[in-house]
Structures are given as structure tokens and as C-alpha cells.
Amino acid sequence: MNTSRQNSPALLEVRNLSLSFNKQEQVAVERVSFSIAAGSTLGLVGASGSGKSSIARAIMRLLKLDSGVILFKGEDVFRMDAQQLKATRQRIQLVFQDPSASLSPRRSIEQTLLEPLRHFAIGDAGSRQEKIRQILHTVGLDHDVLPRYPHQFSSGQQQRIAIARALVTNPDLVIADEAVSSLDVSVQAQILQLIQSLQQDQGIAFLFISHDLAVIRQIADNIAVTYRGQMLEQAPADLFFRKPAHPYSKTMLSFASDGPALNSERGKWQLERGRTNTGKPTVCLFARNCPDKMPVCEQLEPDSHNIQHENQRALGSHCVKCHLYDEVEHNDS
């Protein structure tokens, strides 16, 4: 089915991904599409519960899909046999939020770093040792850490080790799920610097998941905004931060840069509870909190629109799922 996409330049392509929990009662992700080119970084932003982590886990085939396709280098991840899947997982690696929970407390750093190499049968004993020493150097640790255990390290060092473990298989894509969220600012800055150097020196693509727009701004080439399981806006980073289109994106940006304004329209915010499956949504999910709400927003689900800007070709496409952009031609104002 994916022959037409065989030559696609995208490293990862996700099309119309939907998934749910509790026998399809709890909608987690709904018709989400995006792609990541080799060597580029997509920043996936959204509030907690917006489906960010579910998307990440689906890409690794750790969750079952309701519908949709996930293509890695043109191959459908969910149609791979065991061998192909194993080969793919070597090329995609995950880094989680809490490094102390993602490293085994009973394994020395050496065992932790050697495990992926053994599992994927990469190299022989001698070259493996060389490889893990080189990786440790890349993440800024000395090889004398090898015999030590995770509890002997600070959280920043633990996250470096988790990144080293992800890099040891030479992945093309690293999925970082809130990888710097639990770190102190000074340590966060050190880890972000490391990720930046990996982007530049090794050409690794990242799916960088975070709820922090300021962090995303520092390292993402493209931005995708999720809200309650749906993708509301996608744009190149420079465009997104200059001209955010969706009211939700604007709200998030105003929260991130000015902080809460008690009396402003955007400051009035209602917490939404989890979504239960009530068939196809017939409204815009953001309508309840939207400062620019129109009558149509509570009657019809908006389509995705492409917004035209000047120099469009140089920047890449800007998609937004909102009724404000319902006119067929929307020119950059």
C-alpha cells in the first residue's frame, strides 16, 4: 500500500493516526499526521493528556493503533515482521522524562550501555568497549563512570547516560519524551546543548516532545501542536513563533512569555477532563476555552487549512485546524 511513498524524503511519516484506550472509550489520539525529514527536529507541544506520549509509543509499536499508518523510511511499522521491527527499533531510540526510573538500578553503566549492542548484535567485545567509551565522550562523561551504578549520579548525569544508551545503536531518530522537563535550568541548558551538538555533528533527527515552548524554541526546526488528541497547528518553527495561527497556540505563547494575566481574555481557562468517545466530534475541541470563538465552532469540526505566507517555499507549509481560516484563500496579513 505504501509503494507510492517508497521514495518519500521523510524519515518518519505518520498519517491519520488514531488510537484509544479502554476498549476505544478513551480517545488518546485522533487523526494525527506529521512527518520528520532526516536530520531535522520536530517539536511536539501540548498540555498533559494531549496524546504526545501515546504518539511516541505508537511509533515504536508499543501501542496498538485504531487506524492510520506509520512509515519509517517508507516502511509501514505495523506491517513489519519481527526481524524488520527489530532492525527498525535499532534506528529509533527513546529517551524518557525521568532518568532515574528509566535506568536499571541493578546494572552498572557499562552493562546498561552494552545491552543494546548485544541485543542488536553490533560489533564484537573489543569494538563494543571502544564504542561505549566514545559515546560517553560524546555526552560529556568520562569512562571512569562505567563500573558505577545510576544512584551514584546526579539527575543531569543520569539523563546523559540515558541519552548515551539511546545513541549507542547509531539511531537515525531519537524520540525525546519530556527529556529535560524534570531537570534544573542549569542542567537543562547543559542537556539542550548536548542535543544541539548531536543535531549538528551527527545529523540525528529528533522528535522532541515537551510542554515547554521555550525549550522547544531552542532546538526544533518544525512545531506541531496537539490538544486533546488532535493536531491543531503545524508550522516551521520560525513561522510558528512569529505568526502563530491557532488561538490555542497564541494562548500558549502568551502563557509562556508574559505569564498569567488575571483579567485578560486569554487568562480565563477551564481545565478539561479526559475525552470519552462519543463518536465523531462535531465541534472544535478547543471551543470552550477559545477567546476567538464563533458560533460555527460549536457546530462543526474545523478542517485543516494551509496558510499562505510570503516566501512560502523557503519556509514549508503552515497548517491550522481552525474555523478562523475557513476562507479558501487566506493571505498573510
Binding site: H211, R242, F255
Partner: protein
Amino acid sequence: MSTPALKVNDLSVWLESKAGRKQLVDSISFSIKPAEATGLVGESGCGKTMTALAILGLLPAGVKVESTSIEINGKDISSLSVVQRRAVLGRDIAMIFQQPGTALDPVFTLGQQISSVYRRHTGGSKAHIRQTMLDSLEAVGFSQPEEIAAAYPHQLSGGMRQLSMIAMATVCKPAVIIADEPTTALDGSTRALILQQLEQLQTQHGTAILLVSHDLAVVRQSCARVMVMYCGRLLESTDSQSLFSHARHPYSAGLLACIPQIGSDRPPVISAIPGQVPAATNLPPGCHFAPRCTRVEQQCRQSVPDFDSVDGRGVACFRPL
């Protein structure tokens, strides 16, 4: 000058172990005025939470604490017995914890938990207690307080739990609230909501707030004053405006430089503080920050700089910026 809502004099916290004395908090003093929010910032392990717990008398067993006094509205609470303290906690001073998921009791509804605080300290008829509980839930922004009151903690999202915690902490209208990383696990919009509620407490009830956080952006948004802590010591204490425009301690300046900025151009990542926080058992002599400091000189490695305070601005540094 009015009596400060919270006044801490010479508070020290430490652990004795075979490995030696672990100094967690090193004789810090500060005060907070009514209706004022003060931020206490620093990296993990710098003693922020220990300071908060020491004020409340909630330190784990085995941790040693010493202070000249800890006063709430001029009344010393540092020497109270456990029973006497119980009457103070929740009524005069309350705490909002970092993890509402673990701080709330999973087997009671939110309504039961919030009511029990009010019943214990104030009491009254059943209907009055229930109404007060619902009012406190409504005050933190729940449009349907009955629904929340009937819910168990696991039925609510993290943000809703944290708002319920605030309702519980404020049901008796305490003079002081200590909020320990109240927004750390929350996303931007929910964080904004929580901070709004804390601001409302100050303006409407004159509550003094000690906001413990590692997030300088949060402190900037919501606190009039900031204290910067490192390895158990206060390095700088000032009004937030001066800190963010002109930090005097090199550590404060380094922390500020690390905050990512949102702009229309992609900003470079700045990592202004090299190295790591030293272990509490192995603190360097002199200024604890000296080994990581760009302005270090001989004196910094040998003696501890005094905390010099002039016009409400204090800094502990031989070579301030």
C-alpha cells in the same frame, strides 16, 4: 513597620551520619510581609524543601534542626510540642506539596479531606462546614464544586488535584502558605491557573506566600521578592525586579542566563554554569559556589563571604556583579 507574617531566624538543618555531618541548611534568616509572595529558588538538593519542612516542623526523623526562632505573626512556633503544633498547622500556616497525587489520601473524597481540615480547626455545623468546603473549591476556580467534592483524587487530572490542594490549604485562611514546587509537573495553561490562584490569595486574604521553586520563570511571574539558595546557604535576597534586571551574585546571574527565551529568532542555548552541585558531605570550604564561579579568586576559596544586606538587597559574595 508591621509584623512580618513569617520570620525565620538562623535556621539550620543537618544530618549526622558515619560519613560526617551533612549540612542541608546553613543558618538562614528571612522574613515575609503579609500579602507578599517570596520565591525561594535554587537547584535540586540545595535545601529549599528542607527549609520549608523545617519551618513546619515536618522534617523526617533523624534530621537535626536548630533555629533562634520561627515566628508567625510574631508568635514563635519553633519550640512548640507536637500537640501544640498540630493546632497551628493548617490554621496559621499551611503547605501545598509538589505531588498532589501523593499528598492527597486516595481513599477519601476531596470533599471529605477538605472538610476535615476545617472541622479540626474551626468546627461548626455540618452544613456550615460543607458550605465552607464548597466555597473554598469554588474560590480556586471550579465552576462545579459539588462534582469535585464528590471525586476521589484518582478521578482528577494533575492540575485539578493541585487546585484542590490549594483549596485545602486555604480553607482556614492561614496567614502563611508554603507552596513547594506547586507547578512543576504541570503544563503551561494549568500552571498559569495555579499561579493566578496564589496571586488571588495574597490580594484577597493578605496571605503571605513562600514559593519554593527551581523555576525562575514562575518566581518572576508571581513573587515580589526572591531568595537564591545554593548548597544550604542564601546567596542573594532581593526584590524580583532587581534580581531579573541586575543579579549581583554570579550564581544568580548564571541561573538567569540558563532560562530559555521565546523570541521570533531562534535563541542560542546558553549554559552559564559549568560543572555540578557538590555533594552535601563534601562541600568546598569558603564560598560553596567558588569551584564553579567565573569570578572566583583566592579569598573565595578560603573564607565564607558574609551576607551583606543594604536596603532590602542582600548578597553573600566577595566579588558581586
